[in-house]
């Protein structure tokens, strides 16, 4: 689809236009910095395992309550310190961070798939199907998902990361559904879509070959938002002590730190490092979402360009 790159370029004033393939809206600083932040955390688990013994994330494998190495009293054997049940913080972070991502990706993907199906159905069929889907998503979005998830986790005692992802996905579909429905409604009346339909393209082709490429930045932005929301929900559940308890996760580490009053005891590294990793993850995803918004909406790309 040539329209994808042609549209933003046309929207810019003449002197700015450079015929250069690096002049793509996809190459904006926010998107790239965000991707680097997110990927570096996501890959740390893969690469980290080669340099650091991840078994140190288990209880009792290290001395207790050690501060980080760069603080008096710390050792380089445990660069980021240890907590009160003898887990090495570095190993905890290296196992926890990728796990959070996995939950986020699984939940957001399921949510997006449901959203694509329902959004296209609503946008294309219209009528009572549209009304039903819209009402359902409006009602569903009003229910405080985290509260319901907390209750579910309280009943399902031994919860696995995958189960949690699926449960979170149950609340991740109304956003994409609304977005895709709105997009389908606006795109449906465009000339090239009518053209495609008149040319005899079937609905499936129209949706996936004609519409999807144009919706891509919107979908990607919504997907990123959902990954972030899912990680937030899982970290929230873990931080209440309701997540998977066997494997260390970032939220669970914060839960234990809070339970052991790490804040009062001055053990800042115990909650501080998970905080930092989560902050990098969320800020990275946030930047990606803003960057994608700018891809989707050329008007957002800086005000100076206008007039």
């Amino acid at each position: 689809m040539a329209t994808l790159t042609a549209e933003p370029v046309a929207a810019r004033p003449a002197p700015q236009v450079r015929v250069n393939r690096w002049d793509s809206p996809w190459l904006n600083a926010k998107l790239i910095i965000g991707l680097i932040m997110v990927l570096s955390v996501a890959l740390s688990g893969v690469v980290g395992g080669m340099f650091w013994d991840l078994r140190l994330a288990r209880v009792g494998t290290s001395p207790q309550d050690l501060p980080p190495a760069f603080v008096p009293g710390g050792t380089w054997a445990h660069p980021l310190g240890t907590e009160n049940s003898g887990r090495d913080m570095l190993a905890v972070l290296l196992t926890g961070a990728p796990r959070s991502f996995r939950i986020g990706l699984i939940a957001a993907t399921i949510g997006l798939l449901i959203g694509v199906v329902l959004g296209c159905l609503a946008g294309f069929l219209g009528g009572w199907v549209d009304r039903l889907i819209l009402i359902a998503s409006d009602a569903w979005i009003t229910i405080p998902s985290l509260v319901v998830l907390i209750v579910i986790s309280a009943f399902v005692r031994q919860i696995s990361a995958e189960t949690m992802a699926v449960l979170i996905a149950m609340f991740a579909w109304p956003g994409p559904t609304r977005l895709i429905r709105a997009q389908v409604l606006t795109l449906r009346e465009r000339g090239y879509i009518r053209m495609a339909r008149l040319s005899g393209a079937n609905t499936f082709d129209v949706i996936f070959r004609e519409m999807m490429p144009n919706m891509l930045p919107y979908i990607a932005a919504s997907f990123t938002g959902n990954v972030s929301g899912a990680i937030l929900a899982s970290a929230g559940l873990e931080a209440l002590g309701l997540g998977p308890t066997r494997i260390p996760t970032l939220g669970m580490t914060i839960f234990y730190a809070n339970q052991a009053s790490a804040v009062i005891r001055g053990m800042w590294w115990w909650w501080g490092f998970p905080f930092l990793v989560l902050a990098i993850i969320f800020s990275g995803l946030f930047l990606i979402a803003i960057g994608l918004d700018e891809v989707a909406n050329p008007r957002l790309r800086g005000l100076q360009v206008k007039q």
Binding site: A139, V147, I150, V151, A239, N258, N297
Partner: protein
């Protein structure tokens, strides 16, 4: 009440009924769909904790009625819906003579006050920042400084709360680290001391919500302002020679704000969910903290009641926003659905 048609009000009200019914059904279904026998697990937990030995027989009976071991599921379901309508959730399992409704009633004002306070500040600040970011005549110095306010906008509020506790409660000792008022020296009431103490206790949790969530509003508002800026009525208003403040507030902000209000209604559920974590980490005696208490102590009647009340409150808040909306944007009721 111009612009408010009967059809619109009826439609919104039916939406409210649907949401509350959906919530009640979810609460009913969860314990029954959970794998294993949650009821057996609960009995085990309760006896292991040994908290309610004196009244255990009575309690288990009360609680069996709640979760329905007597009668087929549809009878239980109808009973449950009736209990929801009358807000009768029976007795608390862990604090026996106390009724669930009394416990929630004590906690609810704190949550509503904290959230209303925090959400209104967030909404106003976030939209103001966004409006200034998206307005072409904003002084360049201000525009370059404003993005700094978005620094924390993607960090989860409760984790940010830990950081705030560490800095402002423990290191600087400026704010209390828990509670909603100085319960040792003060009695709740309409006294200056009590209100000052309540405000003092609410500042940190509210700050955790405000600083982490205003960025989202600012970005949305910036986008809307930029879109509004290109509209014909803006050019006309400018050509008429209207003053800049009037242009900004009455023409740009007023129109840009409408989708933001819709977004507020849609995000209330998330905000309420997040408050459970905030209240737990700040030991703030609201409904969220009570929910945490009920889960860690296995007080299932209390838990059911709280979840229903939270869903009811959220749906009602959304209904209020929806009903206020036509007053701000009269066009809405003319839309055909």
């Amino acid at each position: 009440m111009s612009g408010m048609t009967r059809g619109y009000v009826v439609r919104r009200f039916l939406m409210w009924v649907l949401t509350v019914w959906l919530g009640a059904t979810l609460i009913f279904a969860i314990p029954r769909l959970a794998p294993g026998d949650p009821i057996a697990a609960m009995v085990l937990r309760m006896s292991a904790q040994g908290q309610i030995i004196e009244n255990s027989a009575e309690l288990i009976q009360a609680w069996r009625e709640r979760f329905g071991l007597d009668g087929p599921w549809y009878v239980q379901y109808v009973n449950w819906l009736r209990n929801c309508m009358t807000l009768d959730f029976g007795y608390s399992l862990t604090q026996f003579p106390a009724r669930v409704w009394e416990m929630i009633w004590r906690a609810l004002p704190w949550t509503i006050a904290l959230l209303t306070f925090a959400v209104i500040i967030t909404f106003i600040l976030g939209n103001l920042i966004g409006a200034l970011l998206g307005w072409r005549k904003t002084p360049p110095l201000l525009r370059s400084l404003l993005p700094l306010t978005l620094t924390f906008s993607s960090i989860p509020p409760f984790i940010f709360g830990l950081l705030l506790l560490f800095i402002f409660a423990y290191t600087l000792d400026l704010f209390p680290n828990q509670g909603a008022y100085d319960s040792r020296n003060l009695q709740p009431g309409l006294t200056v001391e009590f209100l000052a103490s309540a405000l003092h206790h609410a500042i940190l949790p509210a700050m955790a919500i405000v600083l982490t969530s205003m960025g989202g509003w600012a970005l949305g508002m910036r986008g809307m302002m930029i879109t509004t800026d290109g509209e014909d009525y803006m050019i006309l208003a400018q050509a008429k020679g209207l003053r800049t403040p009037r242009l900004f507030l009455r023409y740009a902000v007023r129109n840009a704000l409408l989708p933001q209000l819709t977004a507020l209604a849609l995000s209330l559920g998330l905000i309420v969910g997040g408050s459970v974590l905030i209240e737990t980490y700040f030991v703030y005696p609201g409904v969220g903290y009570l929910l945490y208490y009920s889960i860690t102590n296995g007080d299932y009647t209390l838990m059911q009641g709280i979840v229903f009340i939270l869903i009811l409150t959220t749906a009602t808040a959304v209904l209020i926003i929806d009903l206020l909306y036509p007053l701000i944007d009269p066009r809405i009721t003319f839309q055909k659905r």
